[in-house]
Structures are given as C-alpha cells and as structure tokens.
C-alpha cells in the first residue's frame, strides 16, 4: 500500500504520538500494546486528525504560519445553548444594573443559534421566570401549556395506563411543551439585544492555559486542512479568545470538558457519568389526530425490563398540527446487537402510537446523548480560569426527563458568582470561582436533584424497570427522596456491553416507509453536512482496534448505536477482511460513540465550525 520508506517514518511518528498521549495505558483501555502493529504493512490508516498525529512532527506542515490572532474579553462562553445563553444574559443584566462594562463573547459550533439544539421538550419555566420574568411580552416561543399528561407501560400489543398523580416526578402540570431550538434562538436574540457578542459558526477547538496552569481562554478551530491532514491553500489558524473566566457549556459530554476533567482531575470524587441516547422526530399529523397540549410518555415495549428507556410524544400548539416524538435508550445496555434507532422505529408501530402518526408526514429527525448520572456524577465544577455549566457537568433531573431549567439556572448562578470579579482582571492568571459550587448546592437545583438521586440507580436490580418503578413509588412519591442512602451507578456505560457471542441478535422489522424509516433517509432530514475535505473528526486513538476488538468481540456495536450511519464495517478491497469506514459527514454531533465505544478508542473532536446538523426548532 505505502512505499516502505514513507511507512517507516509514519510508524515512528505514530509511536511517538502514542507515547505522548497521557491516558493511553493499554491495560486500562483493554487495548493490546500495538506499537509493533504500525510497522506491519496491513495496518489500517483511518485517522488523520492532528490531535492524533501532531503537526509539529509532520513535514507537510513545515514552514506553515501557526501564529494566532488573539483578542481579550471579560468572559468567554463556549456553547450557545440554554446554559450558555442564560449565563451571557445574566452577566449583561448585572453589568447594566451596576453600570459597568463587561465584554461577553459566546462561541457556538452551529451555523446558527439553535441549529444543534435537540430536546423533547417539556420546559419547566422556573429558571426562565427568574431570568426574564417578562418573557411572554418579549415573545418567548412558549405557546403550548401542558393540558393532558398520559403515562403508559407498553406491552407488544397492549397498554397499561399509569395514573399521573401530583407529586410524581413525571407530572407536568404548569409546564410548557416547547421546540427548544426555537427557544434557544429567541434567547440568542435577547442576548444580542443586551450586547452579548454571539459568534455562531465558530467552534471552540482548544483550551488555552496560562503559565501557571490556569485557563486563559479558548482557540477556535483551524480551517482549510485537507482530509489527509495536510494544509490547503485556504488554511487559516483559528482565533484565540482570552478571558478572565471561561464558561464551558458544551452540552452533554463536551469534548473540551473531557480534556478539562483529565487536566484538572475534576472527576476524582464523583462517579462516572452515565448517559442515554435520545432520538427524536417531528411530524405533521392529520388535524383530527391532533390534541394540542397532550403529553404522552411510555416505558416497556419494545425494550426489555433490563434496558432503561422509554418514549415521549408531545402535541405542540403552534398553528400547524405538529407532534414531537422520540425514544430514549439508556447507554448502559448490555446487548451489542441493540440498535436504539431501530427500537425507536419499531416503537412507532405500537397500536397506541401508530394511529396518531397515520396519514402524517415526518419533517424532522435528530439525536443527542443526554446525562443520567444526577448528583452522583457531578464533578468538581470550577477550576482556575473556568466553570462548567449546563448539561456538560450534567444537571438533568432524570425521572422528570428535564434538564433545561437546571441548565439555565446553573448558567445564571455562574454569571452571578463570576460577575463581581469580571472586569477586574489579572492578565496572567485565570479567575477561580469556587463560590459557584456552593451557590449551586444552596439552590433549588441541588434540592431537586438530591430528591431524585436514587431513582435511576434503582433500576439496577433483577426486576429492572418494575423494581425501579416500585422504588420510585415508595421512596420518591411517598418519602420525597429523604432516604438516608445514595445508590451507586454501575460504572462506565462503555464497560457494560457483553461480548456478542453471549447475546442474541435482535430481529428488527423492516421499515415500512410510512411510519418507520431507514437510517439514511432519516439522516438526510437532519440537514447534517460537513465540509468534505477535512480530517474526520471521529478520531481513533488506535486505528487497528475497531476490527481487532470492536468487531471481533462485540460485532461492531458502533454500526448500531450511531444514529447517523457514520460507522460501517465494509469488506476490504482484497475481500480478505473487514475495515471500518467512517462517514464523518453524516455525524449529527450526538456524542454517543465517544460514550459507548467499548474500547474507548473513539475520541470525538469538534469539526470545522458550521458543520453538523441543521435542526429547525427541534
């Protein structure tokens, strides 16, 4: 394949890269030491990204100008989601009230605010009421108060109704069904009115550090790197944004947060985060099926009692007869043959669900991972120069399946605690705001999360779902979560898969093209796209692990858990074996692969800004 001379150089470079990677302890990752593999002639070369193959060792980059333009702000916010925008708005509100100037810059990888936002969503307006009490006059897109709340346990053909008693976490009285992407877009407009500098289309790709190890700010992504990792004519370095304090609001499983956990050892006193994947579609239904304000949740079929997950179906009231529906599967599932996408598609055929969708038209599709760890998995939230906000550290109330209100509140608290110091800068050291963790513990966020802390872990028992529901009934509904113990999760999601030979493949029905659909037409509906000529942003620490481990032991689960068809095992050109093909352009930035890869070999990094899904009001 490659001329021997060039390959030898490549081998040496890769060995140096492997040695440099701090976390690459082969034993811990379950990866066999593979340094010798690089010298063999049939080792695959898949990854070309500079985070795996550093450019300062790469002769193609010799002589390329790597200086970056830098600018100074008071606060930089990474991520224009509910947490990031609430923080930005709050910072400006406080500055206005105290008659001082504060420069707030928000960077966002999506091409427009809201384009990467995906959620159910039933919003609890508590945080919004605190942030912008006159949201109604300002035209916030909260048009659908919840009028009906239905909960069911599904069997293959039937439905067991469960009464939605007040006090149960799933009760939605007083909440609004929203299209979160539209709410985020509206928050963006409010932020701009207050003078926040919003920069959609620019991804934060690197964390910058002062000499003393504190966070100095971020650098946006470089552009103009070819698929093979070499510089193109259009190559330009990203820009550095320096700030007193940087708020990291990347959402669930952010890639910079992953680096920060390691760098500052923020997870030493908490449990690993556990996750779920949520897939969602938006449908236009026939007017006679439309019940605006109706909220439906279900558990049970098609998942077995030991796989956490369930569905949602919300009827919006925004003019057109729109329904937002979706399916959540806990990523601690053990059967590598499980495909969350296909579970979602077959759930739609259930006799309780299908009638709503019959005769309707699907207009949107997307997916995103969400946190399920609750208080047990919250890391240390502050470090010199930075604060973690929103779903990145993870404040989702799992039984309520709501995280937006707590994310917004966390952003607001971060703003309130860093505001007095922002503007009084020390140019050589990042600001540490440890008060933030205290404020959070004293707020309703912690109270709420503490009360529900044992519900999700209670599913890890022989009776699975049913045991969990009984636990919730007794300890949450009756005793309000006041039991003195805290249950643990069962470890990393990526460790939960059983080898394929111990599991049975699942027979999924073929999509019928009316209610259920194939993967690729679904991905097309997400509007996702990336500049084709750039290195794949799904990077592998070791290019040989997918075939040697993931495929050999687990039958390639990434082909099934990716909701966008990024990973495919295809025969090699000579037909002798298989190879992993990464269709990076399809990626919808859900982060599931980074979470669930049993070898923890996949490292999602941010692609060129503006790439990714083009969700419209998801």
């Amino acid at each position: 394949m490659f001329p021997a001379g060039r390959y030898w150089f490549h081998a040496g470079r890769c060995v140096r890269a492997l040695r440099r990677c701090p976390r690459l302890d082969p034993g811990a990752l379950g990866v066999r030491p593979t340094a010798r593999r690089w010298a063999s002639s049939d080792a695959p070369k898949i990854t070309t990204h500079y985070s795996i193959h550093p450019r300062d060792q790469d002769p193609r980059w010799e002589g390329t100008e790597m200086e970056r333009f830098a600018d100074q702000a008071d606060v930089v916010v990474v991520g224009a989601g509910p947490a990031g925008l609430s923080a930005a708005i709050r910072l400006k509100q406080l500055a206005l009230a105290e008659e001082r100037e504060v420069r707030v810059c928000v960077v966002e990888k999506a091409s427009q605010i809201g384009a990467h936002t995906l959620s159910g969503a039933c919003l609890e307006p508590s945080a919004l009421n605190e942030l912008l009490p006159d949201w109604k006059e300002r035209g916030a897109p909260l048009h659908t108060p919840v009028t009906e709340d239905i909960f069911s346990i599904l069997t293959e053909k039937h439905r067991i109704p469960v009464p939605m008693l007040p006090g149960l976490p799933m009760n939605n009285h007083g909440n609004y069904i929203v299209r979160l992407g539209n709410l985020v877009r509206w928050l963006g407009e409010q932020a701009e009115e207050l003078g926040v500098e919003l920069y959609p289309g620019y991804a934060a790709a690197e964390v910058l550090f002062h000499e003393d190890g504190s966070v100095k700010g971020i650098a946006t992504n470089d552009v103009g790197i070819a698929k093979d990792g070499s510089p193109k004519d259009t190559f330009e370095r990203g820009m550095e944004l320096h700030a007193q304090v940087t708020l990291f609001g990347e959402g669930c499983h952010g890639h910079l947060a992953k680096q920060l956990y390691r760098h500052f050892n923020l997870r030493q006193n908490c449990e690993p985060q556990t996750y779920a994947i949520g897939l969602k579609e938006v449908w236009v239904v026939r007017p006679e099926k439309w019940r605006p304000g109706r909220v439906e949740h279900s558990v049970g079929w098609p998942l077995n009692r030991n796989t956490y997950g369930g569905s949602f179906l919300y009827h919006l009231n925004e003019g057109e007869p729109l329904v937002a529906l979706g399916f959540v599967v806990g990523l601690d599932y053990s059967n590598p043959y499980l495909s969350p996408f296909r579970e979602f598609q077959r759930w739609k055929h259930h006799p309780f669900v299908a009638p709503t969708l019959e005769g309707g038209e699907r207009i949107g599709y997307g997916a995103r991972a969400l946190n399920e760890g609750g208080v047990q998995s919250i890391p240390e939230l502050t470090f010199p120069g930075g604060i973690l906000i929103g779903c990145s550290p993870g404040f989702m109330n799992v039984p309520k399946i709501k995280g937006t209100h707590t994310a917004m509140k966390s952003g607001m608290l971060a703003a309130e605690d860093s505001a007095p110091s922002a503007g009084n800068s020390s140019p050589s050291s990042g600001l540490h705001v440890p008060e933030y963790a205290e404020s959070l513990k004293a707020s309703w966020v912690w109270k709420e999360l503490h009360a529900v802390r044992n519900i999700r872990p209670s599913f890890h028992n022989y009776l699975g779902l049913y045991g969990g529901m009984v636990y919730t009934g007794i300890f949450y509904w009756i005793l309000r979560g006041k039991e003195p113990w805290t249950l643990k999760h069962c470890g990393l999601d990526s460790d939960q898969l059983k080898p394929a030979k111990e599991c049975t493949p699942i027979e999924y029905p073929r999509p019928d093209g009316k209610l259920s659909f194939d993967l690729l037409s679904s991905v097309a509906l997400s509007g996702t796209n990336h500049e084709g000529d750039q290195p794949a942003h799904l990077t592998l620490r070791d290019d040989s692990v997918p075939v040697e481990r993931n495929l050999a032991i687990y039958d390639g689960p990434e082909q099934r858990f990716c909701p966008a068809g990024v990973y495919e095992y295809v025969p090699t050109d000579d037909g002798a074996g298989m190879r992993l093909q990464i269709n990076a352009q399809n990626c919808v930035h859900c982060k599931t692969c980074d979470i669930k890869d049993p070898s923890q070999n996949i490292n999602w990094v941010v692609p060129e800004g503006s790439g990714g899904p083009a969700y419209n009001g998801m």
Binding site: S111, T220, V223, G527, N529, A614
Partner: protein
C-alpha cells in the same frame, strides 16, 4: 476607471437542508431554516477580493436585496474582504415575488450610481436556478457579459474570460465596464474567519430602498402553486419481451 467592483450576493437555503413545501403550496418553508450565502456568490466575492489583493481594482462593494436577514450575508462578504456593503431593503412580502428582472434593474441602477467598473455575480442561485440575473443586468446596462467564467484576467480597458460552455472552453475578450458571472471552477472561496467577522462589524452597510433607485418592484409573474417533485415510482421487472410489449401497450405508450 473608478476601480470599483460590485458583487451581488444572495442569501439562500443551505444546500444540505431538506426542502419542505408550505402546507398551502404557495412556496417553501423558510422560517428557522438554515440559510447561507449562495455558493456561486461566494466564488464571485472571492474573485473580486483576489483582484483587489492583486491591486487590479480599488474597492469591492457587496450588494444584497431582501429583508433584514440578508445583512448576515453581506457581513460574510465583508469578512471575506469586501470593503463596504449595500443592503437594498425589500419587505418580506415583496421578497417572495422578487425575481431576476427586478434584481437586474436594481443592480443596473446601482452600477450607474456607484460608477462600477465591473459587476461580478454568481452564475445562478441554487434556489431559483434561473441563471438570468447576470445576463439581464448586462442587457439593461448595454454592457458586455462574460458568463460561466472559469478564469478571469483583468487588463487595462478589457477583460479576458474563459467560459465553460457545452462544447468545452471558450475564451473571449470583452471591454470594461462588463458583467461577469462566476462558475464553479473559477476559484476556491476563502473561509470567513472569526477575526475578519469581528472586523467586518466595523465596515459600513448602507441601506437603500428600490424606490430611491427608481425601480418598480411589481412582478409580471405570479406563482400559482408549488409542489414537491413526484415520488419516484418503483420499477416493475418483466420476464420476457412479450411481457414488456404488453406492459408498454397497457400504459398507452405504444
């Protein structure tokens, strides 16, 4: 010669987004949908900026017609290197019926007002696919046109344009002032990087109304109905030639 180049940029629905027809069939859904600069307009901006960098021209002016949101597109052009922008304000209602003829009249009026030496446009917009604005603008101004340009060489008093045509490549020499329309292979547009976006916020965008330019926006065309393309029917396999002939007769084809 003024050394000023006018570049037209259009804000269109991003090419990767799935288009949806409005329920009332009056058009396509644009609310909240991802938009970006028309890819051929990006190439046009890049060409103009390249000419300025080679000191062949002095100023690049980016123009766009439409409602408030087109200012984002003008800002992108400014970030790529245009010096100033002109936003021709057209209300959202009027924008629905704005077609190549009205845009050409606007561009022609602006070209005279700004004493432009060159107008560079994209060859067509990916939403309308009309491929008419460049040609109409040249006709209204009575200027020569170099359309489907894949290579442009600006010299004193004239322009050499290599055009992509059905049979291959055609090289023409036209006098300036002239209208050029950019084809795909003219250049690779640069990225609008963040420092340039920040600088672009300080560049001026002037607001102009079509009436100020003496242009009537009323369209003589009325869109009656917009529909999705018909769904592709599944094919049918036939066993023999007789079968095939029978099926063709059934379908009334023979």
């Amino acid at each position: 010669m003024s050394g000023r180049v006018l570049v037209g940029v259009k804000r269109v629905i991003d090419y990767a987004v799935k288009i949806r027809v409005k329920p009332d069939h009056s058009g396509v859904v644009t609310e909240g949908v991802k938009h970006s600069m028309n890819p051929f307009c990006e190439i046009a901006v890049e060409e103009a900026v390249k000419m300025k960098e080679k000191k062949l021209i002095k100023e690049v002016v980016a123009v766009s017609c439409g409602p408030q949101q087109v200012q984002e597109t003008i800002r992108t052009a400014l970030a790529m290197g245009a010096d100033r922008g002109i936003h021709v304000e057209v209300s959202a209602k009027e924008y629905e019926s704005l077609g190549p003829l009205q845009v050409s009249k606007i561009l022609a009026a602006l070209a005279k007002k700004e004493e432009a030496q060159l107008i560079i446009l994209g060859k067509q917009a990916i939403d309308g696919d009309c491929n008419q604005t460049g040609q109409m603008t040249a006709a209204l101004l009575d200027w020569p046109q170099g359309t489907f340009a894949s290579e442009v060489t600006l010299e004193a008093g004239h322009v050499k344009v290599v055009r992509e045509i059905d049979g291959g490549l055609e090289t023409i020499k036209i006098n300036t002032p002239a209208v050029l329309t950019a084809d795909l292979r003219l250049n690779t547009p640069r990225y609008a990087t963040l420092p340039n976006i920040m600088k672009a916020k300080k560049k001026k965008i002037a607001n102009v109304k079509p009436a100020d330019l003496g242009v009537e926006l009323a369209s003589k065309l009325q869109v009656l109905r917009v529909d999705e393309p018909p769904q592709r029917e599944a094919g049918v396999k036939v066993e023999s030639v007789d079968d095939l002939v029978g099926k063709l007769k059934e379908a009334g084809r023979i």
